[in-house]
């Protein structure tokens, strides 16, 4: 039951066994809870219901989190204490500074652009005849895996050597050729951060649908009377946007911005799938994985995870405050 299953029936059996084991544990808890009597019974039932959750969270989240902070002060194999050397490396080695710089570029570009495009699109299709279809088109990238999205875009960026009989099969390079240019190795070229920017495009493509959906809900919540009154006053579409729509949905815009910023800080799959973090495209979450698995440097990986945590923290707090205020 706890060994590796290799054939399909074995896998399904193991899954079934795991579910049965889990059901048995639940059964015991519920049985005990139904047996508790007396004045303090509520206390006991409460603790019983929380027992599995507290155990899982303590072993699976709290302990590992604290342990990672501890390990970030140790060397590659976790054997000797090296103080803040890992953090020094993150802030001084040129490779790690590139990682940090890339992460900052990502966080500065993705949230405003994804939110902006989402907002504009939500306004453009609002109340149009094809609204649901138009929204589904933009939203679909949000539903698929980041890996599949990366494969889709890798094909767009594909490069073929520039020879007479070779045709470009990537859309961008074909357009460059049609316009009379020479094809570019898009994902390898890091001049002006080209490859990083192209990865950012993929993430914007994914996140815009999320922004659009939430902002569309906020736009629909604007009272009709206000919109009608403005229209009767002959307000132009532009001032309608800047004087009515934008101020009304501003709190939602902030929530969307911060939510996407958190997701952007943690971006991993896109970088990992498209360039593997090579050619100066790595970001913190990808570097974490590379250090942990490829470079086998547990200490540095732990420090990267902690840095990620520290960077996410203020945005999360701001996000929660904003959500609370809006509620």
């Amino acid at each position: 039951m706890f060994s590796t299953a290799s054939t399909t029936p074995e896998k399904l059996l193991q899954m079934l066994a795991a579910l049965l084991l889990f059901a048995a544990v639940l059964g015991v808890i519920l049985f005990l809870a139904s047996r508790v009597r007396g004045k303090r019974s509520d206390n006991w039932v409460g603790y019983l219901y929380l027992l599995p959750v507290v155990l899982l969270l303590a072993v699976g989240l709290i302990y590992p989190g604290l342990r990672t902070i501890y390990e970030s002060f140790f060397d590659a194999h976790g054997s000797s204490f090296i103080g803040i050397d890992n953090y020094k490396t993150l802030l001084t080695s040129s490779d790690q500074l590139t990682v940090l710089g890339n992460t900052i570029i990502w966080v500065l570009i993705v949230p405003p652009l994804a939110t902006g495009i989402g907002l504009v699109y939500a306004i453009l299709v609002d109340k149009s005849r094809f609204e649901s279809f138009a929204k589904a088109l933009i939203f679909l990238p949000t539903a698929i895996s980041l890996v599949a999205a990366s494969v889709i875009w890798k094909f767009v960026y594909e490069y073929r050597v520039d020879q007479p009989n070779v045709h470009q099969i990537g859309l961008i390079n074909q357009i460059i050729v049609w316009l009379g240019g020479k094809p570019v190795q898009l994902l390898i070229t890091d001049t002006f951060k080209l490859n990083t920017l192209l990865l950012i495009v993929v993430f914007i493509w994914i996140q815009a649908g999320f922004a659009m959906t939430i902002l569309s809900a906020a736009i629909k919540a604007i009272p009709d009377e206000i919109v009608e009154a403005a229209r009767l006053d002959g307000v132009s579409p532009w001032s309608m946007f800047f004087k009515i729509t934008l101020p009304t949905v501003r709190p939602t815009v902030v929530v969307v911005l911060t939510t996407i910023a958190i997701g952007t800080l943690k971006v991993f799959d896109v970088v990992r799938t498209m360039t593997g973090g090579n050619f100066n495209t790595s970001v913190i979450a990808n570097e974490f994985y590379s250090q942990l698995i490829r470079a086998d440097n547990q200490g540095l990986a732990a420090a990267l995870a902690v840095v990620l945590f520290i960077l996410v923290l203020p945005i999360v707090f701001y996000n929660i405050r904003q959500v609370r205020r809006e509620a």
Partner: protein, 303 residues
């Protein structure tokens, strides 16, 4: 953490308006329509290109761009056959099964545990309740990465690394804080009269949970269940760290990511493979759109 918009989640449904009003508006803003169409085309074209390619013969994909299809249409299902074929070394069927085997417990376990805990927080008075709830709520901010290294060590020590267990346990654990928070909010809104009445009838907390709560909870469970299912189905990081070693437990996203690394130019396999992997999320999206959007909004900051 973006729990607020949940209540206002739109059904992606066109608003009803008088045809005359629509016509007037459409005429008055041709540029707006044009901009919307341009954006929609830009957003769809990359997917369309790869989808079309997945039906073109291998040699055609390698030699010419997908737009050539319109002058020289050639259609085949060979690429889809190839990704399921064990000879090609892709064997996507196995990984598809793995994804299912990973997902089902990774959805059911946290759902069941979280609804029990959420019930306790919402309707049972016990000592330390508020502080425990706050602690669990706060755990939502922990990024996955912070937990992975020690978890890996634990799983190796216990002797379950390389099986499905690390994935089930890790995904279940990571889902709990958000699930408990959302389900708690939902349960809190159920009128206390219903619970009081059941108590008067002599029902204990077990009976109330099953007979009163669960039936009312179905929409919330569905929304979170769908969100969690897609989150696990689409996950790469957890899979790479805990199932990176062997093919036995790796999910379909991992195999697809590996293919882009090792066979980066085999576009006949990558194209069809990508679409096989997104069949499930897209189907879920189209069939259960409303629940899906709700769950997504609620859980957007997870991980």
């Amino acid at each position: 953490m973006t729990a607020v918009p949940v209540a206002t989640t739109p059904e992606l449904k066109a608003a009803v308006e008088k045809p005359s009003a629509i016509a007037k508006k459409r005429l008055s803003r041709p540029w707006a329509s044009l901009a919307a169409i341009v954006l929609a085309v830009l957003w769809t074209l990359p997917t369309f290109g790869l989808l079309l390619s997945s039906f073109r013969p291998e040699l055609d994909i390698k030699r010419t761009g997908w737009w050539t299809f319109f002058t020289d249409p050639q259609v085949t299902l060979d690429n889809y056959r190839a990704v399921f074929d064990s000879d090609s070394g892709v064997n996507l069927g196995t990984f598809f099964i793995n994804s299912l085997v990973i997902c089902i417990p990774a959805v059911l376990i946290p759902l069941a545990l979280a609804s029990l805990a959420a019930y306790a927080f919402a309707w049972i008075n016990f000592r330390g309740k508020n502080i425990m709830f706050l602690a669990i709520f706060a755990l939502q901010i922990v990024p996955l990465q912070v937990t992975l290294i020690p978890l890996l060590t634990i799983f190796v020590k216990v002797g379950i690394s390389g099986t499905f267990w690390p994935l089930w346990l890790a995904h279940s654990t990571f889902a709990l804080p958000l699930a408990i928070y959302l389900l708690h909010n939902f349960m809190k809104e159920i009128p206390s009269g219903l619970i009081e009445a059941a108590r008067v009838d002599g029902a204990g907390h077990v009976a109330i949970f099953f007979k009163v709560m669960l039936p009312l909870l179905t929409p919330a469970l569905a929304a979170f269940g769908i969100f969690q299912f897609l989150w696990v189905w689409n996950d790469l990081l957890v899979a790479l760290v805990f199932a990176g070693g062997g093919d036995e437990v790796a999910p379909i996203t991992l195999q697809l990511a590996n293919l882009t690394g090792t066979r980066g130019t085999a576009w006949h396999l990558l194209s069809s493979g990508a679409f096989v992997s997104i069949i499930v999320p897209v189907t879920v999206f189209l069939l259960l759109q409303r629940y899906f959007v709700r769950g997504l909004l609620a859980g957007s900051v997870k991980g």
